[in-house]
Amino acid sequence: MSKPIIQVKDLSIFYGEKKAINSVNVSFSEKQVTAVIGPSGCGKSTLLRSLNRMNDFVENLRVEGEVLYKDQNIYAPKIDSADIRRQIGMVFQKPNPFPKSIYKNITWGPQINGYDFDPDALVEKCLKRAALWDEVKDRLDDSALALSGGQQQRLCIARAIAMNPEVILMDEPCSALDPKATSRIEDLILDLRNRYTIIIVTHNMQQAARISDETAFFFDGDLIEFGDTKEIFTNPVEEKTEDYITGRFG
């Protein structure tokens, strides 16, 4: 196991009075794919959003505990949350390309953040990494909204890559896609795993087993089990994990 890049320490998250994450401790390893699984409503998205402070935009949300990114607590007062999001990118459940051209979707982030870059080269590099280049290279100035759902999601991944992040968070990135588009994205994630740390929420057990190195199983706000994906899927320690993986509930 490689060294941890994100360490979650005694993290609890509340929506008003309601506790959605309950004193969770977990480490995410660098340049690995970690799958976060668990039944609906167990707090996967809440946890994921807390890793790059996207929870800041949720009203009435309170965070206790620490999230260390490279040994630095991202909830420390002096931390600039925008700076965290530059290093920890995010891909959402529903593809949300910007209503701009394909080209601008890639360049917008680096541009507003004042990165020094060659736009043509960046667009080509990111679209190639996101396995989208061949499909769109002749229509980079077309609206991103004219792409299919699967292409849009790969564009969102390319857009995240353009920021040159260390970590990419993905919240059920395939749930709005058909099996073919899903398998393309899975291939893409396998491609990217040596370059980026990927933390992916998924409801699809086969997907978690196929693409992840490590798996975290959540239930009702608690981290029930965390470990090597093979171990978890073949030989889970907790009964709840086994029940969930074998489809007995959730």
Partner: protein, 285 residues
Amino acid sequence: MTTKERRMKQDMLFRWCCRIVTFMALGVLLVLLSHIFSQGFKWLSWDFINSYPSRFADQAGIKSAVWGSIWVISFTAIFSVPFGVATAFFLEEYSNSNSKFVRLLQINIANLAGMPSIIYGLLGLTLFARGIGLGGSVLTGSLTLSLLILPVIVIASQEAIKAVPNSIRYGAYAMGARKWQVIVGQVLPAALPGIMTGVILSLSRAIGETAPLIIIGALSYVAFTPLGPFDDFTVLPVQIYNWAGRPQEEFHEIASAGIIVLLAVLFTMNLVAIMIRQKFQKYRM
């Protein structure tokens, strides 16, 4: 009669009702237009557009009114658009919509949008014409019309901003954007077609306003074009109103000719609105 037949009958009945009502409205409009055109068309000429008003109908023209309208509407746009759009962004993106103050503000804006325009005229007279001594100038006229259309611009812009899905904002934040970058770089361009439509529709309304401008003292006989914002002026609808009130039949006819010019201006503005919308709607949501 089976249920299916009855439903189909109802469907047809409803369709015909809609059709008849539409044609009735169109019919009234057509009668109005044909009346105006039959009266005014023969007076339309380059001389008519390029002459100052006169005591003699056959020498009268609308040059001063056309230029007055252009001056007033340009300044109205300069005053109202930045304020209106900025207010809409403040209300939608920055203010806390649950606060009592903001809700009060919102209700007031909605009420202001429905206020009779003559009241704005009285306000303009007190505040701009007399209060700060601008008199019956282009500035007074355009400031008054700006107040008049500001609420409509605010509301239309708010609707356009609301229509931008939050997923776009979150996507932008996830790229490390700051709030102003999200607003200027994503929300504004996405909302622009809607904002533009609202702006041009309210400017079209302003260009047709008569009452508030008469109140603030727009002149009806102006034998010059304004050279600056502090000059006196008249506008198309005031000129038309003046001619229409004269006893002689010829003046009624040139009033119709003036209406045709005003309609042409409005038509052009709406055309521009559509073109702008088309251009920006390349990236439809």
